[in-house]
Symmetry: C2
């Protein structure tokens, strides 16, 4: 497994791989790898001959009062995990490599970033789109793999790739969960012992939402009201949003169809967690 | 010479060319080709094995009250000219091919687009950067050729390519001029007979600026005042700007160095013309 810190060197390596007929799969991450990331990598292996991951805590996607500084990092551990998952190369750049002095170019996806997390994190998706555009240009992947847990991120990247005519396929992979249903996230490391139980209010809300839908409920307001009360009944929770949106344009909807997504963002103590469920699909929570 | 109207088909063609070891040169244009464009193409031939031009009047770079509708177009003539210049393929897409319904992704280069044309054309460079990002992703060029007449455009594209880690070289080519010095531009077609003489106030200002610099003048304000008076002394002229800027960050400067550019934008009747001169360099006006 090779470690690249230079964008130019990795880009040149990837160009050679492509010219040699290799198919490149790519999993961008912010590190502190967990089973969810490793599942993305295992899927990535299926799509190509050469699997690259990036580990970069991207400052451009953090707001001024967010957790950029305290975001967990452990490269030594990440390197071992990546190696066991069959990763061929890690891109692990410094901040200055990605954002040199006088950096000034940003990619904005305008509509699908307005609702949901875009409301409480106004510059977040500009940062996500920009770093992905940069990484795609460096890594030149045939396929890029993203988790569906960050549903709005996946939709945003898909729109960017289509709109800017980027020559790669974007693949979304089902959310990996702890045994009790909590969606895996590097931020789960922030949760204090007593907050861990309250964190389950998210995945349990998805189950409740699915049950209501399966029982025939199609009124978004009714489901949202029920889940809002449910989440609020847990200690240390503060709802950022409980929304039901169209899966393509991410606008709020009133009446559910088979292209509706239930999306949640909830503060548990000082940790902000997200989760989502597309109505009509299977839900991998026991 | 091949004509492509589909982005996907051209992209697939270009990927095959690259895999076959070919080097692709690219000249993006808005058509209504003149000798300036043809010079870019001749230069492009030197940088690669396969020369592609695009002809697309990009709506995203025109403001609401600009000349999008009346911008001159003549594809039949352009096709003949391109063929004689050794072009291998023309990309000639419809608006809907480039900006399908629900299009929403834009590339913004923040600092170098603020001054000069960015002040009177606030969305112009966002449109330019976005269409170039799209075209580069479709055409996959090793080298993209731009004229230096649009100096701020060249600087903007170079910044975008660097910032977003795009794997191509951007080459700037000297402005091609009419015998009397007028910089070639598709917009020269708008000029009425009596405006044609006033249009020479731009190129003659460059000569005057060069003469002052060569005689030792280093005070930007002194040169700007002189040229402003000179241009204003011509009938039908209205100055948008007469500025002297740093060639890299395009910020106004007070004292000239060998990285200073004199940049002009002047309305002649209802036609807006631009021109520029980098102090210390040769000036190809007889």
């Amino acid at each position: 497994m090779e470690i690249f810190k230079s964008a130019k060197k990795l880009q040149s390596h990837c160009e050679s791989l492509r010219l040699g007929g290799k198919r490149i799969s790519f999993v961008p991450t912010m590190g502190y790898l967990h089973e969810g990331h490793l599942n993305l990598m295992r899927e990535g292996k299926k799509f190509g001959d050469y699997l690259i991951i990036s580990i970069f805590v991207n400052p451009a996607q953090f707001g001024p009062h967010e957790d950029l500084e305290k975001y967990p990092r452990d490269f030594v551990r990440d390197e071992k995990l990546a190696s066991t998952a069959g990763v061929d190369a890690i891109f692990y750049p410094e901040n200055e490599e990605m954002y040199p002095p006088n950096y000034q170019t940003y990619v904005t996806v305008e509509k699908v970033t307005q609702n949901l997390c875009g409301q409480s994190r106004p510059i977040h998706f500009r940062g996500v789109a920009t770093i992905c555009a940069k990484l795609f240009n460096i890594v030149k992947p045939h396929t890029a793999i993203f988790g569906k847990k960050d549903f709005q991120q996946l939709v945003t990247i898909q729109r960017m790739v289509n709109d800017l005519n980027m020559d790669l396929a974007v693949v979304g992979i089902d959310t990996t969960r702890e045994d009790d249903g909590l969606a895996m996230s590097s931020r789960n490391a922030y949760l204090k012992k007593d907050e861990r139980e309250s964190a389950l209010s998210l995945s349990r809300s998805l189950i409740k939402g699915k049950e209501m839908y399966d029982a025939g409920e199609r009124n978004a307001g009714v489901i949202i009201k029920k889940l809002t009360e449910f989440i609020a009944s847990h200690t240390s929770t503060k709802i950022d949003y409980v929304k039901i949106c169209d899966t393509e344009n991410l606008e709020d909807i009133d009446i559910l169809s088979n292209k509706s997504v239930l999306a949640l963002a909830v503060w548990v103590g000082s940790t902000r967690l997200i989760d989502n469920y597309v109505f009509g699909e299977p839900l991998n929570i026991k």
